[in-house]
């Protein structure tokens, strides 16, 4: 085996839908979502030799029912991939798709793979977070984690506790900014081109879902002020400054340098390094800080080398903690240019590839930028970061 470069060639996703009975995907299976995304991605590369795909990694947090049964393999069969193409399932909660990319990317990096599909799916309507989980009683009995660690909203409140200067007002302002940037990106047609429309059965006939369902472009700080704080009385985390419960799937095509040449692919970015790190579970939202430091160190870069950031907005305050740590302004224009999970939604295990796809599109628009970061927090106190190099970079 020989070490080789890892390229992000292309990525797509389904439009994201509201989780639950009122959402567009209530009657649509989770595996069908990722299968449709997979076929939609492959349709964009009609000449691709499918037998050359070395593996398919699909992440899901709740690996049961229509998200179970080794979904990377089942999805490949359902999508009509050749039987010779294997597949597997991945779980690292919110960073599932990111881990699918880093794991299969690592396989390319050591020369074991040349071309892979990596993505994720989460139907939070059919699989509510933590449903049927059976945490070991020792977690609480031996105080291994605080009871707050298992409730993501509580972990976000904890960030406000630890960093009192990250106020609710700042969080709300950041959230409104996310909604506005997403609306603008939609207006400019930047999001739609990587969405795979999904036909969804409803009690009143078939629907074609062509855009994200959860966008709230008209949000204002004023309007958010009095939203309920479901996680604690007089708290700071609301439905306005958190990502909503979401259904959706994402998938990306990664390739080695050889495969890029052989299959005549046009990659958009190159993997530079990645890092995962752990923090106290009850304040998991700060996880991306150490994971990013780790990834920067491995890449031999500093935060100042990074020209674009795609940070998953599980909670506004959690992104603010990252920006605050690295001395970046709340409204820095390098950050989440198209908006983030607060606007689009956060279907846990699928979000990682959405970040990468948006970063790769921003790279196209910004040849002056050389490096970008995708980072996200992960339940039970973790963070994940991947650093990417812009293949459109034209030098300074």
């Amino acid at each position: 085996m020989k070490p080789q470069d890892v390229y992000f060639v292309d990525g797509v996703r389904t439009p994201f839908g509201k989780a639950g009975e009122k959402g567009v995907y209530w009657n649509t299976r989770a595996d069908d979502l990722v299968v449709k995304a997979m076929i939609g991605l492959l349709e964009r590369h009609p000449d691709l030799d499918l037998t050359a795909i070395d593996d398919v990694a699909i992440a899901a947090t709740t690996q049961q029912g229509d998200q179970g049964l080794t979904i990377g393999r089942t999805a490949g069969i359902l999508a009509g991939l050749p039987q010779s193409v294997p597949g597997f399932a991945i779980d690292r909660m919110c960073a599932g798709a990111m881990t699918a990319v880093t794991t299969t990317g690592s396989g390319i990096g050591i020369g074991a793979y040349d071309m892979v599909l990596a993505g994720g799916v989460e139907h939070m309507g059919r699989h509510p977070m933590g449903f049927d989980a059976d945490p070991n009683p020792r977690f609480l009995a031996e105080k291994l984690v605080s009871p707050d660690a298992l409730n993501m909203g509580n972990t976000a409140e904890k960030i406000h506790d630890r960093f009192p200067h990250l106020t609710k007002e700042r969080a709300d302002a950041f959230a409104v900014g996310s909604q506005q940037k997403a609306a603008q990106a939609y207006k400019d047609g930047k999001i739609q081109k990587d969405l795979i429309p999904v036909s969804a059965a409803t009690a009143e006939g078939w629907n074609l879902v062509t855009q994200d369902e959860l966008l709230r472009p008209d949000s204002t700080v004023e309007g958010m002020k009095d939203l309920k704080t479901p996680f604690r009385p007089h708290g700071k985390v609301t439905a306005g400054n958190a990502s909503p419960l979401t259904d959706g799937a994402t998938i990306a095509l990664l390739a080695s340098g050889d495969a890029v040449k052989k299959h005549n692919l046009a990659p958009r970015m190159k993997m530079v390094s990645f890092g995962f790190a752990g923090v106290e579970p009850e304040i998991m939202g700060i996880g991306p800080i150490p994971s990013t430091e780790k990834a920067l160190e491995k890449a031999g870069l500093t935060i100042d080398d990074i020209g674009l950031f795609e940070l998953n907005e599980a909670f506004a305050v959690q992104v603010l903690s990252f920006l605050d740590h690295f001395g970046i302004a709340d409204d820095d224009e390098r950050v989440n240019k198209y908006g983030g999970a607060i606007a689009f939604g956060h279907p846990l295990a699928s979000s990682g590839v959405r970040l990468m796809n948006q970063l790769s599109r921003q790279f196209e628009e910004h040849p002056e930028v050389r490096y970008g970061v995708t980072a996200m927090c992960i339940g039970l106190g973790m963070g994940g970061t991947v650093i990417w190099e812009n293949l459109n970079y034209g030098g300074k």
Binding site: V35, K36, G40, I196, V198, S199, E204, G205, W206, L208
Partner: protein, 706 residues
């Protein structure tokens, strides 16, 4: 619309609703998508009744207005998951009490579906799933069609049920895909045991303009429609032009007509009506064509054959699944190893079927190693042929060959749960075989005999446990014929019969339980019919005269063709054993034995096609003078005789219901749907009344009488 009021009186229709949603297309245009959905689960297909059509037409009227207002750029129709629509609800058509209502069904369908051709914007139907009859005609009335590669079946099966495609199909289809293809879809396929099209075939024929895989069928269809709206040109290679209409159209219909005459005779009405409509479809206006369809629907839906066909369809689809007199299926014993006595052709066919369907070890025995080897070679070669045809995987072939063994000793049956014999049809031999087998098999092993003419109780007399013996009567060819007569002898116990029924189901046969009586059902009635034919011949009537005399029944084969098919010797044996059962009612013919000795009855050309009757055969029976009773008398004797015999069979409880008789004759002797088997015909022809002063069915299964 006022004129459809009589149809709308029906209030218990399961309405298939038309849900409309605007779909924003990638081009920015808007497609109004209608989903047909009856709100039932996936076991209940959409059907198209009057209220459904009314709602559909109403939605199309609204969309026409919206198209005019430039709000929408196209209209598409698709169905709920797995179904476009399975056509008109036939139980409703069957219940119509007057001719006019039948015509209204035709007219209302035309009125509603034709709106798809007059929206002011292009119309599409996305055939997402099952599309049968009127369901497919919804698609044919639109401008463009796509089809899902996973749709289970696409067909216009109407003539199978005694109707015609009457919502535009008989005109639109030939004008879309050409006359030859239309004949295939509307005539040839329904006559081949109601064969249906796979989506790829429908696409190749030109019924659909595009085909997509199921995973993103709707998404891709919508995208394709967007391209068509944007000016994409659609080529239809099979669409007939002026040349086809001027040259091959007429001759193609004529050829098909002679094919039908040869195959079915002139009794069934629907195939000829379809031929008339297809012949006329090459010219004239759509309006005139639709009126011809309306008239055909009126005539056929009021007719006897349609009602009999629906009756027969329900027998095969529903009645067959609930066998009369079957013991609790829980009593059935698991069958994990099968023994077959004999390695001859019949026994080898059994072994092959058990290997493939039960997928358990099968052991065959015979009197010499040579015969056993021959049987095993035959079975292995048959399996290899299936592999070569791609109908069996080589893994499964290896499994079945590995499951097959032969032995000279009955001891090999020691661990069998089920042993069936196919030895020579002689009571003493069968008794000896079973007595010997009983010594080696387990206490609870079920024994089955394939006898067609001996008493199962008699065969069981040599057994110490006769309750374990059942009759299990196959029809030849074993792999093809769907019927099994499971014979419950007086001594047979519930466990044995339940096991036999379960085995029959595993073999994918339709099983009917009969009592232990001569000829059971099929051979008793065929024996009677063939006996009457030979009686007439022996009286001096020519073969032609007898065949013609019986032709109005509309059987798939005349008695002499049938005799030669089953073998003259077998035929003579059946007649003899029925005659032995009752000499007054069943005729045995010495002449038939002579013909069997001689070897043939029919004259054939080089290709084996029947040309007429063999000269020598005519000499042997001496019927060249064509004497005897008149054709009418012969026919009357057959009809009334059949009615009497069936009444006796029901009184004797050979089977429980006339429905069981009809099911047997349809599945075991290929008697046609349009007769409803036989009893509906005997009722309405008056034979039942003459035979026993009543009818088999009350009310009779009969069309509208004005």
């Amino acid at each position: 619309m006022e004129r459809f009021q009589p149809l709308l009186q029906d209030t218990d229709e399961i309405i298939t609703h038309s849900y409309v949603r605007d779909i924003k297309l990638a081009s920015g245009k808007t497609l109004a998508l209608i989903t047909l959905d009856n709100g039932q689960d996936h076991t209940r297909p959409n059907t198209l009744g009057p209220h459904t059509l009314l709602e559909f037409a109403g939605k199309l009227d609204e969309l026409k207005q919206r198209a005019k207002d430039k709000e929408i750029h196209g209209v598409a129709v698709t169905g709920k998951p797995y179904y476009l629509a399975a056509g008109v609800d036939l139980t409703k058509v069957q219940g119509l009490q007057d001719r006019h209502s039948g015509r209204l069904i035709g007219e209302m369908g035309h009125w509603a579906l034709d709106k798809l051709s007059d929206l002011g914007v292009p119309s599409f139907v996305f055939i997402n799933g099952l599309a049968l009859g009127g369901g497919l005609e919804v698609a044919l009335n639109a401008d463009y069609r796509t089809v899902n590669r996973a749709a289970p079946a696409i067909a216009l099966p109407e003539i199978f049920l005694g109707l015609i495609p009457g919502w535009g199909g008989a005109y639109l289809l030939p004008n879309l895909i050409g006359i030859r293809n239309a004949l295939k879809v509307m005539l040839e396929n329904p006559l081949k045991q109601n064969r249906m099209l796979k989506p790829d075939e429908a696409f190749d024929l030109g019924i659909a303009d595009a085909i997509f895989d199921s995973s993103r069928f709707l998404e891709q269809s919508i995208d394709w429609a967007d391209q068509v709206l944007g000016g994409k040109k659609i080529k239809r290679k099979n669409q007939p032009g002026a040349v086809e209409k001027a040259t091959i159209w007429g001759p193609a219909v004529s050829i098909a007509r002679s094919m039908v005459e040869e195959k079915l005779g002139k009794v069934p009405l629907a195939p000829y009506r379809v031929l008339d409509l297809l012949g006329a479809a090459k010219s004239g206006t759509k309006q005139a064509a639709f009126e011809r369809e309306d008239q055909a629907i009126e005539d056929l839906s009021a007719g006897d054959q349609f009602r009999a066909s629906i009756y027969a369809f329900n027998l095969v689809q529903k009645h067959a699944k609930k066998p009369q007199g079957a013991p609790d299926s829980k009593l059935a014993k698991p069958v994990t190893k099968v023994g077959v006595v004999g390695a001859g052709l019949m026994a080898s066919q059994f072994a092959l079927l058990f290997l493939r369907r039960l997928e358990v070890p099968v052991v065959i025995t015979d009197i010499s190693q040579e015969r056993i080897d021959k049987g095993i070679t035959y079975i292995t070669e048959e399996l290899d042929k299936l592999v070569a045809k791609g109908r069996l995987s080589s893994d499964d072939r290896n499994r079945y060959v590995g499951n097959l063994s032969g032995s000279l000793e009955y001891a090999a049956f020691a661990d069998c749960d089920w042993v069936i014999e196919a030895v020579f049809e002689e009571l003493k031999i069968k008794q000896e075989v079973f007595a010997a087998i009983e010594k080696v098999v387990r206490e609870d092993c079920i024994l089955a005999t394939n006898t067609s003419s001996l008493s199962v109780d008699e065969i069981g007399k040599a057994l110490s446990k006769p309750e374990r013996l059942v009759g299990f009567h196959f029809f030849n060819p074993v792999a093809v014929m769907p019927l099994l007569e499971v014979v419950r002898a007086d001594k047979s116990n519930d466990e044995s019969v339940a096991t036999a029924m379960k085995v029959a189901r595993s073999l994918r046969k339709t099983a009917v339980i009969t009592s232990d009586s001569a000829g059971f059902v099929v051979n008793r009635l065929l024996g009677f019919l063939l006996g009457e034919a030979m009686r007439a011949v022996d009286e001096g009537a020519s073969f032609e005269k007898v065949a013609d005399a019986i032709a109005p029944l509309g059987l798939p084969m005349n008695p002499f063709d049938l005799l030669e098919l089953v073998g003259l010797k077998v035929g003579a044996h059946v007649l003899d054993s029925m005659h032995a059962f009752n000499q007054d009612r069943f005729y045995a013919s010495e002449n038939l034995h002579k013909l069997a000795e001689y070897g043939k009855l029919l004259e054939r050309d080089g290709k084996g096609k029947i040309k007429g009757y063999d000269k020598k055969a005519i000499d042997i029976v001496g019927n060249s003078s064509n004497g005897g009773r008149s054709a009418e008398e012969i026919f009357e004797a057959v009809n009334v005789g059949l009615a009497k015999e069936i009444k006796l069979m029901l009184d004797e409880k050979v089977v429980h219901l006339p429905e069981d008789i009809d099911l047997c004759m349809i599945m075991g002797a290929g008697w046609p749907f349009h007769l409803g088997g036989i009893t509906p015909y005997l009722d309405r022809s008056g034979a039942s009344e003459k035979a026993f002063g009543s009818t088999f069915h009350t009310p009779m299964i009969i069309g509208v009488r004005d």
